[in-house]
């Protein structure tokens, strides 16, 4: 099911009211090389779980097409686990979410630049390693294993 990204909270709240009580997963696919616009497809996966019997009464796969511009709003208010899932989507794809307190990377470290699961992020790209606190910001070549000897230091 596709829903417009600008109305994601309303549409998902409607589904939650219908009984989809679990946000099973949330992820994103980057369609940049396929030339699709908008380039990202954010996927919400919902389940109607009957707590009494443990039966799965139905699932929904919700697709939202978005660009880098922040259009999607956070669904943390509907399902609290959306917090981490949104952090991961931001971390890996750089898709921004509105209406939520500041966003932090989930898997990568703060000094990491770029969003690794984007299709234009080269798999072999190296990032400067973060060394012990030397007062220097990341980017210092002394910790970069590609350049083990730094002359003039």
């Amino acid at each position: 099911m596709n829903i417009p990204a600008a109305a994601n909270v309303e549409e998902l709240a409607k589904l939650k009211a219908e009984g989809y009580n679990m946000l099973v997963d949330m992820t994103c696919v980057d369609y940049l090389p396929k030339g699709r616009t908008p380039r990202f497809d954010v996927i919400y996966r919902l389940m109607k779980l009957d707590a009494a019997t443990g039966q799965d009464l139905g699932r929904q796969e919700i697709h939202c097409a978005v660009d880098e511009l922040p259009v999607l709003r956070s669904v943390m208010g509907l399902w609290p686990n959306a917090d981490w899932l949104e952090r991961e989507v931001w971390d890996m794809f750089g898709v921004k979410f509105l209406d939520r307190p500041g966003i932090k990377r989930l898997l990568m470290y703060e000094e990491f630049s770029g969003h690794p699961l984007r299709k234009d992020y080269p798999i072999a790209r190296r990032q400067p390693l973060i060394g012990p606190k030397s007062g220097e910001k990341a980017g210092s070549p002394s910790f970069n294993i590609l350049k083990p000897t730094v002359t003039g230091e």
Binding site: N21, M22, L23, V24, D25, T27, V29, D30, K34, I43, R45, L49, A51, T53, G54, Q55, D56, E61, W79, P80, N81, D83, W84, L85, M92, R105, L106, L107, M108, Y109, P116, L117, Y121, I123
Partner: protein, 445 residues
């Protein structure tokens, strides 16, 4: 004086647990805010074991991703292998021969037992019960040897292939399993005697880290954790895959959703998993079983088929197969493998013994020659050691996945960690974190 003491008691302080803390099961960092010994706030920092599973998978062929999946939940690697292979098969519309499906269920359940033994053993050790740890890890070692016998490796199993499994069950697998099951049962029974009514253990486990079923559902928690809150949701029952619909098993549930219930659920599930393997071993069909997969035909395959008529050549160059590759031999393949050469690797005798086999092998592993799946998108989940282990796959018709998303079951209880810990004591961190069974490989991917 009084106001000073009050001010001191109001003051909170930060405490770092991890990333290299013996109770943090590998690498995760908890930043605790404490008032005295009471936890006021928690922030879990994850990602220390991020190895870019999803990114790597996108640059590999469909079959080459299987070894990566071992490294997700590394105490139950076979379930990951099965989950990934079945997700790809769902995408491609391939059906695995019945015997292969039974073998996958056997492998998954053996792995589930190793997962639960590790979790219970490690949590017990962290609460001071080293004896239980040794008993359970010894039992796990027996199962690892069984897995070694089946797959050729204790942990890095890479057992499944798209369209089948690596090989048939080794000789006298059933007998070996019976002997080991006996050992596992006695270890579990002894641990049960040592722990279940143990005052120290109960004091630490009962009532700590409790979560209501409504909260567990809101946080997307599945697996033993959700079942401990009283919700009998199990992917094996809700969406039976492979041959689970033919097997009889119970879903143990808890009532209060605390650490103690999670411990009891896991202990009960070990017995259920052993029962499942026993049923599989008695039901598993003998002889050759190959349900034809839906055919995926390419020009090279037709060309290859024309050449492969020369079977005399095969007998002439009977290859000596390395002992470690025993399970991949011709005989083993005949019984279990999917019949499509467009999908599964040829048996090793063919690879080493005939030019067609060698070509077939390389065509499958070479870029732009391997398994191809029409453009599509699908999600498939299996019951992992920690809950619903899902793979969302997108194919663009190329050699490998366009996108692999692994739904790591232990991410969800980790996201609920604040809810579980705040208000408790610092000592509760250890049993609660232990019963989440966070596996960094799966959490960080």
């Amino acid at each position: 004086m009084m106001s000073d003491a009050r001010a001191r008691s109001q003051k909170t302080y930060m405490l770092n647990m991890g990333p290299a803390h013996p109770a943090m099961h590998g690498v995760v960092r908890l930043v605790l805010e404490l008032r005295g010994e009471t936890i006021v706030d928690v922030d879990a920092e994850i990602g220390y074991l991020h190895r870019a599973f999803e990114k790597h998978a996108e640059s590999e062929t469909w079959n080459n991703v299987v070894p990566w999946t071992d490294r997700l939940n590394y105490v139950s690697p076979l379930i990951n292998n099965v989950g990934y292979a079945m997700a790809v098969e769902r995408l491609a519309g391939i059906e695995v021969p019945e015997r292969g499906q039974y073998i996958r269920v056997i492998a998954s359940e053996v792995s589930r037992v190793t997962d639960h033994l590790t979790c219970v053993g490690a949590s017990a050790m962290e609460l001071g019960s080293l004896t239980v740890f040794l008993y359970l890890i010894k039992a796990r070692e027996c199962l690892y040897q069984l897995v070694d016998n089946l797959t050729g490796a204790r942990v890095t199993t890479a057992f499944t292939r798209v369209g089948g499994v690596k090989g048939d069950l080794p000789a006298d697998f059933a007998g070996k399993f019976r002997a080991i099951a006996k050992e596992v049962r006695s270890a579990v029974a002894e641990s049960d005697k040592l722990l279940t009514r143990n005052r120290i253990f109960m004091d630490r486990m009962e009532g700590t880290g409790a979560l209501s079923s409504a909260d567990a559902i809101a946080y997307g928690i599945t697996g033993p954790f959700l079942r401990s809150t009283g919700v009998a949701y199990d992917v094996r029952r809700a969406h039976p895959y492979a041959v689970y619909d033919r097997l009889d098993f119970e879903i143990p549930v808890g009532a209060t959703g605390d650490n103690y219930d999670r411990y009891l659920c896991r202990m009960a599930e070990i017995e259920q998993s052993l029962r499942l393997v026993e049923q599989c071993l008695s039901q598993i069909p003998e002889g050759k079983h190959s349900l034809e997969p839906k055919e995926i035909k390419h020009a090279y395959e037709i060309q290859d088929a024309g050449k492969a008529g020369d079977t005399a050549l095969l007998a002439k160059y009977a290859a000596k197969v390395d002992r470690t590759l025993e399970g991949m031999g011709l005989e083993a393949a005949a019984g279990t493998r999917a019949a499509g050469r467009g999908v599964t690797l040829p048996p090793k005798e063919r690879t080493y013994g005939s030019i067609e086999g060698l070509m077939n092998h390389f065509e499958l592993v070479m870029w732009s020659w391997g398994v191809k799946i029409p453009p599509s998108e699908s999600y498939f989940a299996v019951e992992g050691g920690n809950g619903e282990l899902g793979f969302h796959l997108v194919s663009d018709g190329g050699d490998g996945p366009y996108r692999v998303r692994c739904r790591p079951p232990c991410l969800f209880p980790m996201a609920a960690l604040k809810k579980l810990l705040v208000g408790g004591q610092i000592a509760d961190v250890i049993p609660t974190f232990g019963s989440i069974n966070m596996i960094a490989g799966e959490l960080d991917r």
